[in-house]
Symmetry: C2
């Protein structure tokens, strides 16, 4: 995707996070990265004038939806400009010169730790320590300089903080991908893509969801994903998120949306965008296996 040179892209995490990698793979190296401590801060950076875009994870193919991103997306005034799918490669990273036999503890984001169960089963004496962030845990262990501490993170984090990769491909399941959305203030977002994302609420009636899906099913518009999220303060009531293989340039799609509007409350188009799949990891060779 093309964006203006020096566009500022906010993301959650420290330098070297998977979100940063996704931003650079999608937009190239001439952007300015704006790391934020929380997803909420990243989403606020655009209306506050501190960033032009947000790059936010929305789903991992093993762990499922990133629930907070969906909540923030429904409540924000941002729209989806593009989707990028990044293969997630976990590495065991330590201080330079450390040997794998010296490692006594491994730090990472809980999802990172959970995706490397095989490694921990094979090394039962190594303690796992939950951290806020994959990249941040690399910064921590490198600055501590202790050869007994390691972290699990992407290759970029090792490069940025000067850690050494002791083992590549620590992940249990190679079918590990994360979907990210590139978001911008609504008027800037394009609407000519091949994927369409919506969010809406429904009256609490038998058949309400069935009726909401009907306009798309009748036109054979492919539903790629449905996700439900609680509505704050209204226990056991939900917002529904749909991802469809559909374009806003298609008259049939516009008709289906018009029909949905008759049943749904607070229908909001989140974006119509194209998807970019990153193939080929940045790892040099397949020296893999945990």
């Amino acid at each position: 995707m093309k964006v203006e040179k020096n566009s500022r892209v906010a993301f959650q995490g420290e330098r070297g996070a998977f979100s940063e990698e996704a931003a650079l793979m999608l937009l190239g190296g001439e952007i300015r990265l704006v790391p934020c401590t929380t997803l909420a801060t990243a989403f606020r950076a655009v209306p506050a004038g501190d960033a032009d875009y947000v790059l936010a994870p929305v789903e991992n193919s093993l762990a499922g939806a990133v629930q907070w991103s969906l909540d923030l997306l429904a409540e924000s005034e941002l729209a989806i400009c593009a989707e990028v799918i990044l293969p997630i490669v976990h590495n065991l990273i330590a201080v330079p010169g450390a040997r794998i036999e010296q490692i006594r503890s491994v730090e990472s984001h809980p999802v990172g730790l959970a995706q490397c169960e095989r490694f921990f089963h094979a090394n039962p004496l190594i303690k796992r320590i939950a951290a806020e962030d994959t990249a941040g845990s690399v910064r921590e262990i490198v600055s501590a300089g202790d050869p007994a501490r390691a972290a699990i993170a992407g290759r970029r984090a090792a490069e940025i903080y000067g850690g050494e990769i002791l083992r590549e491909h620590l992940e249990d399941n190679p079918a590990n991908f994360t979907r990210f959305f590139l978001l911008a203030a609504a008027p800037q977002a394009a609407s000519a893509g091949t994927k369409l994302s919506l969010v809406f609420q429904l009256p609490h009636l038998p058949g309400a969801l069935y009726t909401a899906l009907e306009p798309f099913a009748r036109r054979e518009i492919n539903l790629l994903k449905i996700e439900s999220r609680p509505i704050q303060g209204r226990p056991w009531e939900y917002r529904f998120y749909l991802d469809l293989q559909a374009s806003l340039g298609d008259l049939e799609v516009l008709e289906a949306l018009k029909e949905l509007e008759q049943h749904a409350v607070q229908l909001k188009i989140l974006g119509c965008y194209d998807s970019v799949e990153i193939t080929g990891t940045q790892t040099k060779t397949g020296a893999a296996g945990a």
Copy 2:
């Protein structure tokens, strides 16, 4: 609900966890509690003969689905015997004698911390520290004996570990409830309740989900909740979980299930059960407000 005296009930967390509270409220005081470090361990305790039941959280009315419980439920041989809905009351707990002005850091499960944002906004100098467990963080701070450290957890945790409640109702949103399932080996589970839970997969075709919901919509069987979860190793394919207001004793419901079976793959009935709502918190009076 009635269970045999001394029934062993496994749950994730330490003594004093909200799951323990839910188990005692549902089953009374004559059960034996089996605390487990992870949800996976709790689910394995029944087939391993270490417990008769599991009490597992499945949804919080603010945070949404407990995704790992759903995954474990689909893969286990356990069935739902009952549902219990517990109001979640967060308390600020410190070592006895500590004053609120002394507190410098507050520890809890990340979801617990996130549900008490107002308190942290009002007290910007207090550091928030993520812990594995709400109850475990109370045990930690009491055993450390440091009046500058506090934890956020339920009242039971304060009672069990000898902590002092400095402030009740720290939660931002009073509409904070968690749904738990009581699970047992499938043959023991009843099937005469008023709620029905299923899980299934669908072929990747336009209208597949719509077609799957049709047998229920046509019979005006109320869909209470739909949740999708990724299938491991098959990126962007999903399992669907439905909660219906329906009984297996109802012929119409059996017919709808038979129709669903023609479209769905790996359809599994998770249980047909009654729901118990715990009203009245154990807090004595409404001395609330963060």
